[in-house]
Symmetry: C2
Subunit: 294 residues, 2 copies
């Protein structure tokens, strides 16, 4: 098993994008005290993050993750991260991780209260074993996210397109799903449209057409979803972004939750009603998602 | 100036409410590394908190704050905090704080990822000097919170009545207010009712009647608001909880944002339109809020 460790990035480059800041990080043990109690990440969930899958030492889709980190930072009025600095930390962490599957997380916090700069770090750890869920799929329940589809555009301070550290609701939704005997959840807008899962994107199949909720509704644009769409398009399937009424969910010919570390999990039931599954396509998707991707 | 320090509570009492756990905490410097990167407070904003005002070494309204901490923990499926353990940490911190105004924060985090218990700590620091804002008041803007008034009851996983660490939206709302030239914000429900400020409760005055939004709409029940209502009732004023349409805001005879550390700040303008202020009543309210309260 590979170890758990972190790189504290110090100094964090503040918008100057200096190339000589690229290797300024210090390795610490993941269990060691590394953050002060004044950290706004911990006091306010005030920061942004990314989770990157690593397969046999290869960090997947690094550039899309870095671009989304920068996008989230912009939505949260955080200084623009120096992507070269982060990229080098990711490469160094991935090189230290052994064979098998791992996860690298990037965290950009607003910093210590009244402090001058953000705090930033990268964590590296073995991934949980998701082989069973990739094979057996997940039962999901639908849960109201409380926002209508227009909220993101109307109220950008709701940060709906940013991957912030304020994930308490996402975690509560997973607990509610477990309470209902399911494995995961699909969030619906208060006006009845399909959004995303608490920590994954949703892809539905209708015939030879694959569709995912349009990210302009205030959901995250999934890096794994993007990558899977490339793969599906290369195989001649039609891929689309759309506004999907919740009533369409049980009509799907197949559906998956896709995310960077668990990868593609077929949805076997929605709110207790079975959904068709396609084990061979799911296996193919996961083979692709486990292959080196940049 | 009093120092900044924290007590790490270890072991955190898990539901046994053992009385011999009451003084098991370790003092650390607030700037020193104390938390690991695996902390779910920092990775997910997954935990609950309280901010307690301290005046000349007296922690204000400790029991209501502890009761709200327990309430938030319950809504977040966290183990019930041992209130005696927390109370002793608060008393010890308050005793170490010198004269003047300070702030004690209580943080109960879900703990380290895959860890066995929550993490808990108490921070103590001098309060910012709020004398000017107590005298001059605040200009506010109204901002859509995205949720309708029924969301809290319909979707408890939105954690609307819990004081969670996931405050990124609250912080973004304050930045939006500053961007619009205001000092603070009032959240409105998506169906047009008045909620609360990002870090304060709202109290409106209409004649001799004081009214605040009913906390069953998914807002926090403000400890300072409760205390102020006792004071107002003792003076013969009528106090009420109600559903307040946003259209009623400019008709108020006076309005305040009230919170544990800043105390009562008169609202001088809403969305650029002036509101009447009552400097002598505001001064009286702050005198009361600065007096020792339990």
């Amino acid at each position: 098993m590979t170890g758990r460790f972190a790189f504290m990035i110090d100094p964090v480059d503040i918008e100057e994008q200096r190339s000589d800041y690229a290797d300024t990080f210090t390795q610490v043990d993941a269990a060691a005290p590394a953050l002060s109690v004044g950290e706004l990440s911990t006091q306010r969930g005030d920061g942004v993050f990314e989770s990157i899958g690593v397969v046999d030492g290869h960090a997947q889709e690094v550039v899309p993750h870095l671009e989304r980190l920068a996008h989230s930072a912009r939505l949260c009025d955080l200084p623009a991260p120096n992507l070269a600095q982060w990229h080098q930390a990711i490469d160094e962490a991935a090189a230290q991780l052994g064979s098998g599957e791992s996860v690298i997380k990037l965290i950009l916090s607003r910093g210590v209260e009244h402090g001058p700069t953000p705090t930033a770090w990268v964590t590296a750890a073995p991934a949980p074993d998701f082989s069973a869920v990739r094979e057996n799929g997940v039962r999901v329940v639908t849960l109201d996210r409380g926002y209508d589809l227009g909220a993101a555009e109307r109220a950008p301070w709701l940060l709906l397109g940013a991957k912030t550290l304020s994930y308490a609701v996402n975690m509560a939704a997973l607990r509610e799903a477990h309470r209902r005997g399911a494995d995961d959840a699909i969030f619906l807008s208060s006006d009845g449209f399909v959004l995303e899962a608490p920590t994954a994107s949703l892809i539905l199949r209708f015939g030879d057409r694959f569709v995912t909720p349009a990210p302009n509704g205030g959901i995250l644009h999934g890096t794994t979803q993007l990558s899977m769409y490339e793969h599906l398009a290369a195989q001649g399937f039609e891929t689309a972004y759309d506004r999907i009424p919740a009533a369409d969910l049980p009509r799907a010919d197949a559906a998956w939750l896709v995310s960077s570390v668990r990868l593609a999990a077929a949805i076997t039931a929605i709110d207790g009603v079975s959904l068709p599954v396609d084990p061979s396509l799911t296996a193919d998707l996961n083979r692709y998602l486990l292959s080196p991707r940049d």
